[in-house]
Symmetry: C2
Subunit: 568 residues, 2 copies
């Protein structure tokens, strides 16, 4: 079996631009995303539909979630491009058809294999909220229409491609919200992610949610995401002493001169710092293996020294060693980037580091040294970022891994895929739990904006109802609570669902924007929300509603389908 990885479109590994109208998009980034990446019951159902001659009946399914994650009141929708790449290339190979034939229980008729052989998504239409949008419970993220058998086969892969993507993008957005706009946020989660493309997906969708860069080289190549990273503790402890450094010369930044013994220059600076007026007594002997590691790294990357300073002792070894190397680099016209703290009290240590840097700037007259960058990276999450803010800190960049990429506080988003119409007949899924009752009908979905420019409410309407109009009063009803309703006069009306896969309907296809545009959309949408929906503690729920007509219809259908109880 040979499959193609379709991540980068060209040799350079640059971000794919997405298909233009009419062009078939490339296949999924992960070549394991095939039509077999689905639950067996989709095939048994497809067979049963086919056997009953029902497989071509036109069905409409909504993909939506019921509850915002992480105790918040918003969600970022992501994963759409991979969904479109999947359905655009949906086609069974002969090997796959043989496998299904062997796997289906009982005797599978040849005709079904022929049916699978001819199957693609040309008769499917997919409508979606644009990727990177802020979205809310119950409102469809995707509406998929088509022959029931093929749309069922799509259920599991679409859920898989949207669930984690949206969850981790939302998590990233929440981390960005707490960290604030000015901080650099780095995604460092690959090693702890749930499998290889858990890592690659995390890098992509955290970037959409507002992160600035990733450590994951494969994601950098697939998606053009900026890459960051310098060295680990192992690098530091792999050195024993400065004697190990054989090649000691370093050319100046402008190439005009050369320092023959950079190691001695570093040692001279370390001595100057040690006996300086303002820093005298802060440290005695720094760790020499650490000093050797920083010096060696600086010789390899004189313009990019970002030193991990906590292998032995941050204040008494790591920071002085870094400063000695940074000042030696400065003599040669290079500017060190900064330090990384990976343990201990990050608020305290970052403030001490800042003081140290400012003292150096003053004492040795090195302009800008006080602003040397401080990165922190030890098991960070929303709570620890919030605590750091409250304590006060001097961190410029945060490297966040485990909690971000595995969505530790809530590891799954519960998107579901529900039949809402078949053969133009609306369908409802009942449940004793009202929050699990589905909203029937092929629906239009709109976001209504108020006078202050904030989104006020999302409203779902029956497909044939007139759309809400700017300046026209409309009644918005809670779908299940009859007493909750409000009139709205929208200042702006946004239709949420756009056509990303028209099939053979002849409709225009929305472009899939490049990753950077998706990220910008996300950032802009988050900024546009009313602040009380966004706060971490007790956020106000955003309102999701249905039209009066749809409300009446839901409840008519519900009464119609639910059995009448008999108390005994």
């Amino acid at each position: 079996m040979e499959v193609k990885a379709n991540g980068p479109n060209d040799e350079s590994g640059r971000i794919p631009d997405g298909p233009t109208k009419g062009r078939i998009p490339d296949g999924p980034t992960n070549p394991m995303v095939t039509p077999l990446l689905t639950d067996l019951y989709q095939f048994t159902m497809a067979y049963a539909y086919w056997k009953a001659g029902k497989h071509q009946e036109r069905a409409v399914f909504d993909l939506y979630f019921r509850k915002n994650p992480f105790g918040g009141e918003y969600t970022v929708f992501a994963g759409l491009e991979e969904c479109i790449r999947f359905i655009a290339n949906f086609k069974f190979t002969e090997d796959e058809i043989s496998f299904i034939r062997e796997t289906l229980p009982g005797s599978c008729e040849d005709g079904f294999c022929d049916y699978l052989r001819g199957l693609d998504c040309s008769e499917v239409e997919l409508y979606a909220v644009p990727e990177g949008s802020v979205v809310f419970p119950k409102v469809p993220l995707l509406r998929i229409e088509g022959p029931i058998a093929v749309v069922q086969l799509l259920e599991t892969p679409l859920l898989n491609l949207v669930n984690y993507a949206s969850l981790v993008a939302t998590n990233a957005a929440r981390h960005r919200f707490v960290a604030g706009k000015t901080k650099m946020l780095l995604e460092f989660g690959l090693r702890r992610a749930q499998g290889p493309d858990g890592g690659i997906g995390a890098s992509k969708y955290c970037y959409i949610g507002g992160f600035d860069a990733t450590s994951n080289v494969a994601a950098g190549r697939f998606f053009g995401i900026p890459l960051r990273g310098t060295h680990s503790h192992a690098f530091v402890s792999s050195y024993m002493s400065l004697d190990e450094i054989v090649e000691k010369s370093l050319q100046s930044s402008d190439g005009s001169s050369s320092c023959e013994d950079f190691v001695s220059l570093v040692q001279t600076w370390l001595d100057k710092i040690k006996w300086s007026n303002s820093l005298r007594g802060v440290f005695v002997e720094t760790n020499q293996s650490e000093l050797a590691a920083f010096t060696s790294y600086a010789l390899a990357f004189p313009n990019n020294l970002l030193a991990l300073v906590d292998t032995y002792d941050v204040i008494r070894s790591g920071i002085p060693n870094f400063c000695a190397v940074a000042l030696a680099l400065s003599d040669l016209g290079y500017k060190a980037v900064g330090i990384r703290l990976d343990s201990g009290d990050l608020a305290y240590l970052s403030c001490e580091a800042r003081k140290f840097f400012c003292a150096i700037e003053k004492e040795f007259g090195v302009p800008g040294f006080g602003k040397t960058s401080i990165t922190a990276s030890n098991d960070l999450n929303e709570e620890t970022l919030d605590a750091l803010n409250k304590q006060g800190h001097e961190v410029d960049a945060f490297g966040i891994g485990t909690y971000l990429v595995t969505c530790f506080t809530q590891a799954a988003l519960g998107c579901v895929f529900k039949l809402v119409e078949i053969n133009n007949q609306p369908r409802i899924k009942l449940s004793e739990d009202v929050s699990k009752v589905s909203i029937p009908c092929k629906k239009g979905c709109f976001r209504l904006y108020g006078k202050e420019g904030y989104p006020l409410v999302d409203i779902m309407t029956g497909e044939n109802e007139p759309s809400p109009k700017v300046g026209e009063r409309i009644l918005c009803r809670h779908p299940f609570n009859e007493s909750k309703r409000a009139y709205v006069v929208p200042q702006k009306v946004e239709e949420l669902l756009k056509c990303y896969w028209p099939g053979i309907s002849g409709k225009a296809r929305e472009d899939l924007p490049p990753l950077k545009e998706i990220r910008e959309r996300c950032i802009k949408q988050l900024e546009q929300m009313r602040p009380d929906h966004m706060r971490r503690l007790n956020p106000t729920p955003y309102k999701v509603s249905v039209s009066a007509k749809l409300y009446d219809f839901i409840h008519f259908l519900w009464l119609n389908e639910a059995p009448v109880g008999e108390l005994q």
Copy 2:
């Protein structure tokens, strides 16, 4: 860029047998697992090592975790085969090398690209605990030796491949423990998994941890895992009435006769049940779209009817409808499999269903009908399984998804990768948090068994110390707590680390066993543990120790490296 998916070894999609001695294993199952699937800092470090002429220095790294997950006292090790597939095929393409050259900060020398071009894992040796073993904190799961630059490049992918694999296998084992040996456990998590191969990985490693089957067709094909699944709520609600069923005939199981109107046969049975002595009054009118769906499914799969009975009302509609169809099938010599419950009070509903089935068996004289299988599948996890056990239930099979595959209660295992020796010099990583101090030296690792056949303690020794011997008393010391120590006279000694990748050392290579053997090993190892280590509440920690000699050496090195404080 073209990459090959190497999951199935042959057309049939059967489980790969693993390489035999001397053969190069196939590449990783997920073709996205390439040498670029690593953190950028591995490349910057490799460059700095290369630039310092240090890249060939021989280093030893341990991969281990510090704490068992899920509040338990054991972990199942998994992911080894994928690690070996990865290192066996570790090789850069020209595209990848160009990407690294563009990505490294500053000017990357040509010599480094030449170095990468020639790089593979032939000089690397990898020792590991066999996959499917029960393992404990601090003891290396993998010990990797080789030139420091290449072993650093392996760090992130090896962690990625082991972390989630071991976490989810452990989660599966814990679910199996609560469910008991006799229940069928089905993994249903694909739609909620963290990305496509989060789903595929979950299916593989849950199978290792003791699950019986998966719904994930791709995983079935890649790994030969048994597949299960029948139909969803959408299938039920896609039908409106029995009139939709056009092709109503069904041949008997033995082919001797044919029923021309299976629909009428079903209706007749529903009437008989309704007015039977023991079931009279249980239900009035069942839902006809549900009855049509079950009937249609039975016509497609007469030997495999497993009906989802909770779309409308379990007791008053789903179960009677299923029984009517099952009895009609029985008339034709077929045996229905059973029902699935996906909502409501599973303990109560399963008991009611069992009563109903037993009443049918008695009333209509259908032998075995009382034993009709009951599957349950609504947001199940360890806690709900435990609660069901306490309440009493009649469930035969559990379908478990979200909580299992995303490891909801703890979404990450914190495996780390620490340098323990370079150029034959032991290295230690210090930390103010004692649990984070690494155990230095290239070590031997042994499991010592007691008289009753249970494992008693794991012990790590310096590489050149004699191995523990059966019948010989040995002192086992806690690595960091001087007062915790015990003499042990082992009845059996098992060397834990085996050579799975000898590189060019000429050592014999352990076979990678087929998946089923890994699963059997896991089940056997779990059964072999002393019960108090395994219980859900307050389990006894299993002891992990070091030899007296290694203990002394750790503490000598620690004092040597740690700076002496100065109180001011």
